[in-house]
């Protein structure tokens, strides 16, 4: 007996899906099933009309060329995403969409690409890419493991809190030790690898929030995370 159905909406899977972003969608779908819920996955691509029934929104990273393709559509759906975020809708934004969820991206040559302002943060193009394994700690989710590969450096404003504090790697930028951002039920991060498989606490936070918003209460099932724990332990021991 299914306890309910959750609709997962993947943003721009064609253009913004470069570092295994599908892994995050797959983890949400499978863990929902293990918790006893059904999952319906749909996509929003440039030019589509934005659906009304999404319970959980997820978006990934892309190349510069991919970001150009989605830019206009993202601006068009930006007010909807902002409204949903303020209303408590759970969302996960990784890498490229993390940047565009902010206020703007200023490239190295000074061009300003507007973001959609879901998150109070800004990104500045850097000359050097920040690449490598990352370990970060968060009061909310414990130790977070992932891999970063970005040239934009992100700085948080007063309206968001960092997702975690970096203990290995760079995270948001090369200056402070922040990684990612949190605001209401939006989780944003530079980390892929993919993020959710090795960080099931974040996956279950998104799931619990989506189910509670829709059904009032969340009844978790038994999920065995032994493999994720072992994968985390090994990832943590690898060189940068």
């Amino acid at each position: 007996m299914s306890k309910g159905t959750i609709s997962i909406l993947q943003l721009y899977p064609r253009e913004m899906n470069i570092y295994g972003d599908w892994g995050n969608v797959l983890v949400l779908k499978q863990r929902l099933a293990w918790h006893g819920y059904d999952a319906v996955i749909s996509e929003h691509n440039a030019g589509d009309s934005f659906p009304d029934d999404a319970d959980l929104i997820i978006g990934g990273g892309g190349q510069d060329s991919g970001q150009l393709v989605i830019q206009e559509d993202l601006q068009a759906i930006g007010p909807r995403l902002r409204g949903l975020a303020e209303d408590g809708q759970p969302m996960l934004a990784i890498c490229g969409l993390y940047q565009l969820f902010g206020k703007f991206f200023r490239t190295v040559d000074g061009t300003v690409i507007p973001g959609i302002g879901v998150l109070d943060l800004e990104t500045h193009g850097g000359k050097e890419r920040l690449i490598g394994n990352v370990v970060a700690t968060s009061g909310e989710f414990g130790e977070i493991h992932g891999y970063e590969n970005h040239s934009g450096q992100t700085f948080l404003g007063a309206g968001v809190t960092p997702l975690a504090t970096v203990t290995k790697g760079e995270g948001n930028n090369a200056r402070d030790n922040h990684e990612g951002a949190r605001h209401h039920n939006v989780v944003a991060s530079y980390l892929h690898g993919s993020l959710l498989p090795k960080n099931p606490a974040i996956a279950d936070f998104l799931i619990r929030t989506a189910v509670e918003r829709k059904y009032g209460t969340f009844e978790p099932g038994e999920v065995d995370d032994t493999l994720a724990d072992l994968a985390r332990r090994h990832a943590g021991s690898r060189p940068r």
Binding site: V27, S151, P197, K198
Partner: protein
């Protein structure tokens, strides 16, 4: 001429060979002493220099082009040591040139890593370039696929004679306008085979088959059936039996045919070309069939999502014991994200006997999310290999492995059993 640098380089090469050292040091020495050495040595060849580059299949394709041209009586210089860097080419040259720095060959066919190829073409202008594909691989080194495409574009722009392009890879075919002085020749697939080779834009989420390309191709892979294939060449359909396994290798054979035909022009002996092609063996460390305790054991190199997906597609898991070995050393790429861009559904029915390598737990976790049963996990490759062989007597075996995992597997195999290479 600088005979001194050649002599010193040759001496260093001998010395470093005695010490069992790498192949790059003598190249470094001669590069420092005599920066023009390589350009001079390669400039006198009758058919010039061909550069082979792209994400997947460089080593095997280079080997094919070399053997096709040798089969036509040409003397070919190539960087066989597998060190696909400029310095490796210089080191390989030192072994071949005479004391005056002259190379006794008709053509050089060189496998070059995308990043190093650009450095190389600044030193030596190729007459031909064969550009295979641009796939997501080693993004931790190159940053973006588009950046890799630009590197290949620099090679195309530097080419003086003919650029040979993969018509089916939109990023590679899209380089045609950047070709400045050279002609363009394409190799491609019959439309019925295009769905077998999805490009990276058709990974997860994207839909449909790429728009059929109507660019004229010199060689078209028309059919694949096991190790047999039919190539469309100059309006004729030519069947061939190959020793190479895997559809990706067979598509690379079309690339090699187009490259050889370009070099030879009207002088090609087509029967001999196909005879040479049928005799090509896989390159070392790029997928081999071995015999272990009387059972076949296949090593399948998987180093990026496209390669892994094609590997899974090419080899039916039924009846085989399967092991997967995933390392994250520098040469493999440290980022594990790519495992999440591969579908493992085809392994669900048979399951996986053993997962090994530094990132064995990442791999096992990946398989868990695709509902594929994993019967054992042992991160240490030597122990895993023993267990795998002992645990499946009387069964053919297959190991999917990343590059450094394959080297480790091969090293261990030669210790624990007599390894007979069968193809």
């Amino acid at each position: 001429m600088n005979p001194l640098s050649v002599l010193v380089g040759k001496a260093v090469r001998r010395a470093s060979k005695l010490r069992g050292g790498g192949s790059a040091l003598p190249g470094l020495v001669v590069e420092r002493m005599d920066p023009g050495f390589m350009g001079r040595a390669l400039s006198t060849l009758e058919h010039g220099v061909m550069v082979v580059s792209g994400t997947n299949g460089k080593t095997t394709t280079t080997k094919m082009v070399v053997e096709l041209l040798e089969g036509q009586g040409l003397k070919v210089f190539t960087n066989r040591t597998g060190s696909n860097f400029t310095r490796g080419v210089a080191a390989a040259l030192l072994g071949e040139v005479d004391w005056r720095g002259r190379l006794d060959a008709d053509i050089a066919v060189l496998e070059l890593d995308e990043a190093h190829a650009v450095h190389f073409v600044n030193l030596v202008r190729p007459k031909y370039s064969l550009l295979l594909n641009v796939l997501r691989d080693q993004l931790d080194r190159f940053g973006e696929i588009d950046a890799t495409t630009r590197l290949l574009g620099r090679i195309a722009a530097a080419t003086a004679g003919t650029v040979i392009l993969n018509r089916e890879d939109p990023r590679v075919a899209g380089l045609a306008p950047t070709v400045r002085d050279a002609g363009v020749v394409y190799f491609g697939l019959d439309p019925s085979l295009r769905s077998t080779f999805p490009n990276d834009d058709e990974l997860r989420g994207a839909t449909g088959v790429p728009a059929p390309s109507d660019l004229p191709a010199d060689v078209v892979l028309e059919q694949v059936e096991g190790n047999g294939a039919v190539f469309g060449v100059g309006g004729r359909s030519v069947p061939a039996d190959l020793r190479l396994r895997g559809v990706y290798n067979i598509f690379n054979a079309a690339a090699a045919l187009a490259a050889a035909r370009t070099v030879l022009g009207g002088a090609a002996d087509e029967d001999a070309l196909f005879a040479s092609l049928s005799a090509v063996e896989p390159a070392f460390g790029r997928g081999e069939s071995l015999t272990v305790n009387g059972q076949p054991l296949e090593l399948v190199l998987v180093k990026n999502p496209s390669g892994f997906r094609l590997g899974l597609k090419s080899f039916d898991p039924a009846g085989h014991a399967t092991m997967i070995a995933i390392n994250d050393n520098y040469a493999d790429g440290r980022d594990m994200s790519w495992l999440w861009d591969v579908d493992f559904d085809s392994l669900r029915a048979a399951g996986v006997d053993l997962v090994t390598g530094v990132r064995a737990y990442d791999m096992a976790l990946r398989l868990k999310y695709d509902d594929v049963e994993v019967r054992g996990i042992e991160p240490e490759i030597p122990a895993a290999l023993k267990e795998f062989i002992a645990g499946s007597p009387g069964q053919p075996k297959r190991i999917f492995c990343t590059y450094t995992a394959m080297l480790a597997v091969r090293r261990e195999l030669s210790k624990i059993t007599t390894v007979e290479v069968v193809s």
